[in-house]
Amino acid sequence: MTIKIAVIQFPGANCDLDAVHVLNDVIGVETSLVWHNHFKEANFDGVVLPGGFSFGDYLRAGIIAAHSPALDEARIMLKDGRPIIGICNGFQILVEAEFLPGALLQNEALRFVCKWVNIKVINNRTAFTHKMNKDDVLAIPIAHGEGRYYTDNLKELEENDQIVFKYSTEDGSFTSEANPNGSLENIAGICNIEQTCLGLMPHPERASESILSPKQTIHGRIFFESMIEFIKRRLT
């Protein structure tokens, strides 16, 4: 019963190899890089849509990749509750493919921003956050130009417990200084109603090794460890 994870390689993805490295070499789960046209859901227990600039972000970030056959396959996984995580561009793709609600717009400052931020755990029941504590503050880096989350259905998101992370200060307050891109209500990541599909702008794969973190933290690992645990529980 080996757990198998896929990282989908869309044309223009950049953070695919990073995710494969963390999952294979740091977490230790069998992970394959799969070319988007070759992706078949039956072979995998979980899937990662990595960051990058799929199709150059042309027209709108994530829109062209959203039409890839890989998303049709992933939709089957969504229906039967296998964990799906979309990181940065992956989040944008999930939103355009309507796995998750809302939209990701250009950063308020109209510039790309690359820096480490703090995100607070709002929902620790999802497939990727159940090993976290509610109100934990995690240090994870962002790097994006179109990360401003927007929805006209905020009430629904709140009622269904779909808000998973919010940008915060180190001690957990949701200030505007802590919000790097102008996202509505400082929202950094959301999930589907079933709590199995997570989309977030920050990059947990860049925060999984102490050698890369400004304060030697490894908060990124918990995402993937939660996913493995969740899969194990499902399979038994």
Partner: protein, 747 residues
């Protein structure tokens, strides 16, 4: 423009009448219009280096003299063996003229070009660095516009291709106002095996020639000769010679190329940049000692009805030429199909040593393959500019404001202040290799995943110093950039340079280039640093005002650190520790920020380099590293050592109580002591319990090391030992340091 008669018709060409005659002599006939277009482009300054080659011959043969240098100048990128089975390829290029006209696309396509050069060595590009020059920003909307869009162009292209920009440098000076400098560097990583099988040239007859990537269009025709002309003459008419980059296609090309190379069937690889298909095919066959038979009708074009001239000279971006073994053709083409990259088999190599290009039935080019690279060389005249005497004799007036005010003005000045506004726009973490990030060190440090080995890289030079003395300034650049990697714990391994100068046909401008090359040559030979590549950009001169840019021979150094625990970073770590300075300060305010910001002066005596002292200091530092005695290190440059110390206080809000009594060995004036930019000094943080050991070693290595202060937990810097004590507030200094560029750019 020269007018010549070709087959009865009058034609405009860029080359001189003499060069045209030489072409006819080489071919023993009139060239066809396509052949002539090829020579015109290949013999331009940018492609042929005709003015610089005679001088560049001074450099020693890096491949022959250093056993770890696998590829030297002349290849698409320099390659060095860094141990543990790994090799690094790196190169630096200029894209100045296109960026001055159209900063966003000019800078973006500059990045596109340098990525391709490294990719040609068959290795994955893993880092970018960008040293830039602009006119001063304050009150100058043109400079602000150029700066904003060059940075955005580099950011958008680099981010989209997923290659982190890990370092760079910006200097602002009036001389760059109409001739901005945009140099771009790229580092690629592979194994020695990758490199041994690296595609190089078309050495075998009977191989297929395949074009892959973007389609060939009418853009940029004669983009290269445009770079060899000064801007004011050509600008209006040259509007079409700036191309639009496509980083998405570039990213696909990177993946497709690397996968194709892994099949083992790719024997030659060349990107299509300046000079387009003409340059690529002639270099592949010329260097490979073969010939080729190419059919232009097979080339996939962006629009119908393109002439053979247009196809051969097009500089459409994002195209690569592959030389493929016949038995591997389908395997390689299947890789291209997987990535949905357009391709065309356009011909085959043969042993004729002649490059034959057909347009259907018509033979439009038939040249000895080496002909296009046999440009005449020019021995240019050089003459030391007369204004230098007066400039060097400039004396420093006594300051009329207090030192606290001077230091605050300096920390906020454009050339010293924080460049965070720039590097926040670059994804400097993609690839999960970035260990020492912008702001934490003098160089960018990357890990090699799966090893305990790290790469440090830095780029830059001080143009104001080079303006006053290009020989010492070029040496100084080497000392400074080597110092940057050494400050992070790395041993400098190799250098590439990008020479940005004025019009080589003007003796005073050529003199700057000549002296800079001599400086680089002398220093590198003495300190044993191989020069593995270089780029020359001439004609950075405004014809109307007759001003050339300040001489800018950019230096890039790559170094290696073995062991994570041996990486040193810049910020001060612990209150109570000692602050030591390595190296004496001389009265060398020439070309300093203190001179220009406080006194409005450009002259004075610039720093001189003593190779023996520099080598001794470096040896001492490595000994101290070995004994793990250094907690933080920052090399001293713009603004002098007091600025360096201030910068080290910022991150952890650690203060300093300083006493300079005893350091002023040469009895300098207070301002000379604080603000002199004497090259090759370091500020190090050490534990007071190690003081005696360190001083003992310093004596053994014959290096001046002095304790000049102690770290405190108060957010202040107190300086004693000058005529008047100085007290600086660190929070205020940080605010000044952080806000200059955002205030200027948030328009």
């Amino acid at each position: 423009m020269t007018k010549v008669k070709l087959n009865g018709e009058e034609v405009n060409i860029e080359m001189t009448k003499d060069e045209f005659e030489k072409v006819k002599e080489l071919l023993d006939r009139d060239p066809t219009i396509t052949e002539l277009g090829g020579f015109d482009v290949m013999w331009s300054e940018h492609c042929s280096y005709k003015s610089s080659r005679p001088k560049l011959k001074l450099f020693e043969d890096a491949e022959a003299n250093y056993d770890y240098v696998l590829a030297g100048p002349g290849e698409d990128a320099g390659v060095i063996d860094i141990g543990d089975g790994y090799a690094l390829a790196f190169r630096i290029e200029s894209h100045n003229h296109p960026s001055a006209i159209e900063p966003y696309h000019g800078a973006a396509t500059g990045i596109g070009g340098i990525i391709r050069d490294v990719l040609c060595m068959g290795v994955r590009p893993i880092a970018l660095l960008d040293p830039l020059r602009f006119g001063r920003l304050a009150g100058n909307s043109h400079s602000q516009w150029l700066f904003k869009y060059v940075v955005k162009g580099i950011a958008d292209y680099g981010n989209c291709t997923g290659i982190p920009t890990i370092g760079g440098e910006v200097e602002f000076d009036d001389s760059f106002e109409n001739n901005c400098i945009v140099n771009v560097a790229c580092i690629g990583l592979g194994t020695i095996e990758d490199f041994k099988h690296a595609p190089s040239r078309a050495y075998n007859p009977g191989d297929y020639i395949i074009l892959m990537g973007g389609s060939t269009g009418k853009d940029g025709i004669h983009g290269v000769t445009f770079a060899s002309r000064t801007l004011t003459e050509m600008s209006e008419a040259d509007r079409p010679a700036v191309q639009i980059g496509d980083p998405f296609t570039k990213k696909m090309i990177i993946e497709a190329t690397l996968e194709a190379v892994k099949t083992g069937f790719v024997r030659g690889l060349k990107d299509l940049g300046g000079g387009g298909l003409t340059c690529a095919t002639s270099e592949l066959t010329g260097d490979g000692n073969t010939g080729a038979n190419i059919d232009l009708r097979k080339v996939f074009t962006a629009e119908p009805g393109m002439t053979s001239y247009e196809i051969m000279l097009s500089e459409s971006q994002e195209r690569m030429a592959f030389i493929v073994k016949p038995e591997g053709l389908e395997v390689v083409l299947n890789v291209f199909r997987k990535y949905e990259m357009a391709f065309a088999v356009i011909g085959k190599t043969d042993d004729s040593k002649v490059l034959k290009v057909f347009d259907g039935e018509e033979l439009v080019v038939s040249l000895p393959a080496k002909a296009l690279s046999e440009s005449p060389m020019f021995k240019r005249a050089e003459k030391r500019p007369e204004y230098l005497e007066r400039l060097l004799a400039q004396k420093t007036p006594e300051p009329t404001i207090g030192f606290k005010d001077i230091i605050e003005k300096l920390i906020a000045s454009e050339n010293i202040c924080s460049k965070e506004w720039v590097y926040r726009q670059y994804d400097h973490e993609v690839g999960v290799r970035s260990v020492v990030k912008c702001g934490d060190g003098d160089s960018g440090v990357l890990r090699i995943i799966g090893t305990d080995k790290f790469i440090a890289a830095s780029v830059g030079v001080n143009s104001k110093h080079c303006y006053l003395d290009p020989y010492e300034g070029a040496k100084g650049g080497l000392v400074e950039i080597c110092g940057n990697v050494i400050a992070n714990g790395a041993k400098p391994m190799a250098m590439v340079n990008c020479c940005n100068f004025g019009n080589p046909e003007i003796p005073e401008s050529f003199w700057y280039f000549s002296k800079a090359v001599e400086g680089m040559n002398d220093f590198c030979r003495t300190l044993r640093i191989p020069i593995v590549g270089g780029n020359v950009s001439f004609y950075n001169e405004d014809e109307v005002t007759k001003t050339a840019i300040k001489a800018t021979p950019q230096i890039m150094i790559v170094g290696i650190i073995n062991g994570f625990e041996n990486i040193i970073t810049l910020p001060f770590k612990e209150s109570g520790n000692d602050i030591l300075i390595v190296g004496e300060t001389e009265a060398e305010l020439g070309g300093s920020e203190y001179h220009s910001v406080i006194h409005g002066l450009e002259g004075g005596i610039p720093p001189k380099i003593d190779e023996e002292k520099i080598q001794a200091r470096w040896n001492l530092l490595f000994e101290l590293y070995q004994e793990k005695l250094i907690k933080a290190n920052h090399d001293v440059n713009k603004g002098g050592f007091i600025i360096s110390i201030t910068e080290m206080c910022f991150k952890n809000k650690i203060g300093a109580d300083m006493d300079l009594t005893g350091y002023n060995i040469k009895k300098l004036r207070d301002d000379e002591l604080l603000f002199s930019e004497t090259v090759g000094r370091f500020i190090i943080e050490t534990s007071s319990k190690d003081y005696d050991r360190i001083l003992g070693l310093a004596e053994k290595f014959n290096v001046t090391v002095k304790k000049i202060g102690s770290l405190t937990s108060k957010p202040e810097i107190n300086i004693k030992g000058l005529k008047q004590d100085v007290k600086l507030n660190i929070n205020k200094m940080k605010e000044l340091y952080d806000s200059t560029i955002p205030n200027l750019m948030e328009i």
